[in-house]
Symmetry: C2
Subunit: 240 residues, 2 copies
DNA sequence: CAGTGGTCTAGACCACGCT
DNA sequence: GCGTGGTCTAGACCACTGT
């Protein structure tokens, strides 16, 4: 008879409804959402149901909640991004300044092979390739190659410079909020390019971190390969 | 006046009370806890408060909950452990058999330097040093050095062999449940020992993962250094 | 069918941040 | 003091699992 109705809890509907409004731009990054009771009235459910939905959205960093203040759409600010998406620490345990970035090259290419595959593209679309180095306290320690489908970042290739926090820039300029990512970490040997870009000796071991990042709506919007000076930095993972 | 009462929610008290009973062995790994209503009666709070506490314990993997069945104390079974604490994947994307382990050496040493430091020991205590390799489909791909304070693992040095899933073994033999860990990932160059243990060529890049693991009560109980053949495996991190 | 966790509601009250 | 999220309670009902 196949009479299976998968059953979807009401709070998940509410969660989706709110998410869609955020994606649609009804509430923009940094803005405050209506209170729990107002949302409950708007959506015709009880306050407890809205609460559960908002807490779930808080868990996945779509919004953040502050007691006594309100619920706000998450911003990809540099500080938050460091916490969520930047897990490099100094080997000696020292805390230093915020990382900056130096743009080396930006060009338009066609996505082929691994780039096309990792970005899950059907065709050989145009993508922007960004090459840059990251510096902490003026010392270069990471080189990055970043691939962005031009489809999502129209006009990006015309830009002259880029800010330190790309994710915040994506959000402000292109209404793309990075929300999830997965990092594949491998060990590689430094080549001449690494020597040129971050000054590591040829033959030295490096971490190569290959990241695929997704926006709020689940679409893959960025592929990024970082090569990290392992003599200076390590990658830290907390397992709970 | 300094009349600050930090305010501790009731459900956190409940959470701690339940955690303590689990640590004390009142409910053992794999056993079912009383139902929400029974716990509520026992502790003199409402069912909703118990629910919030149990869900929090579920989040941190102290218990797991199954609708229609019950709430159970988590077991460090091989399958769960792989999901939580084993994040190595094959570079070619293939899924293969479960990892096995081959014991190379076990000896008793005094904790000094980095070992003492990472295990947060005050004195040069005795620790068990375990050297083993891990194999997937009979191919060696990881070598591990594991350091365990003898204080927590009394008699371990007398054992002849060890099972594949150490964490399950800690739990069954020593009533120690591994609950949290942090991994520091670096890149290194294979040396003669790596060549002997996992057959990687000298000079090849490896991942070195240095893990500190904590038990339910928060105590550091294990320090482990893994050296991973990066030609075969990578370390995968999901950022949400 | 009995028992468990999961959802949803309604209402009271508390803690917090801002003004 | 006001408005916000956070806690706690009580009760009804639903969905899932195993017997």
């Amino acid at each position: 008879m196949n009479n299976k109705t998968p059953f979807k809890p009401l709070y998940q509907e509410v969660q989706q409804a709110i998410t869609h409004k955020i994606i649609a731009g009804e509430w923009k990054p940094g803005e405050m959402l209506p209170s729990e009771f107002q949302l409950a009235d708007m959506l015709g459910v009880s306050q407890g149901t809205v609460r559960k939905a908002l807490n779930a959205l808080g868990e996945s960093n779509v919004v953040y909640r502050r007691q006594g203040v309100g619920t706000f759409v998450s911003e990809n600010t540099l500080k938050d991004m460091l916490f969520h998406f930047f897990h490099y620490k100094f080997n000696d345990g020292s805390e230093r300044g915020l990382p900056t970035a130096k743009l080396i090259k930006m060009r338009l290419i066609k996505a082929r092979g691994k780039i096309k595959e990792e970005l899950a593209l059907d065709h050989e679309e145009k993508v922007v390739e960004i090459t840059r180095t990251r510096l902490i306290d003026r010392t270069a320690c990471i080189s990055e190659k970043i691939y962005l489908p031009l489809r999502y970042f129209d006009g990006l290739d015309q830009e002259g410079g880029l800010p330190n926090s790309l994710y915040h820039y994506y959000q402000e300029q292109f209404q793309i909020t990075i929300n999830k990512a997965s990092d594949k970490i491998r060990a590689v040997i430094a080549n001449q390019t690494d020597n040129d870009l971050i000054g590591v000796a040829l033959g030295q071991p490096l971490l190569e971190v290959s990241r695929v990042a997704k926006a709020l709506d689940g679409k893959i919007v960025e592929y990024r390969i970082s090569r990290v000076d392992s003599e200076q930095l390590h990658y830290l993972v907390e397992l709970n």
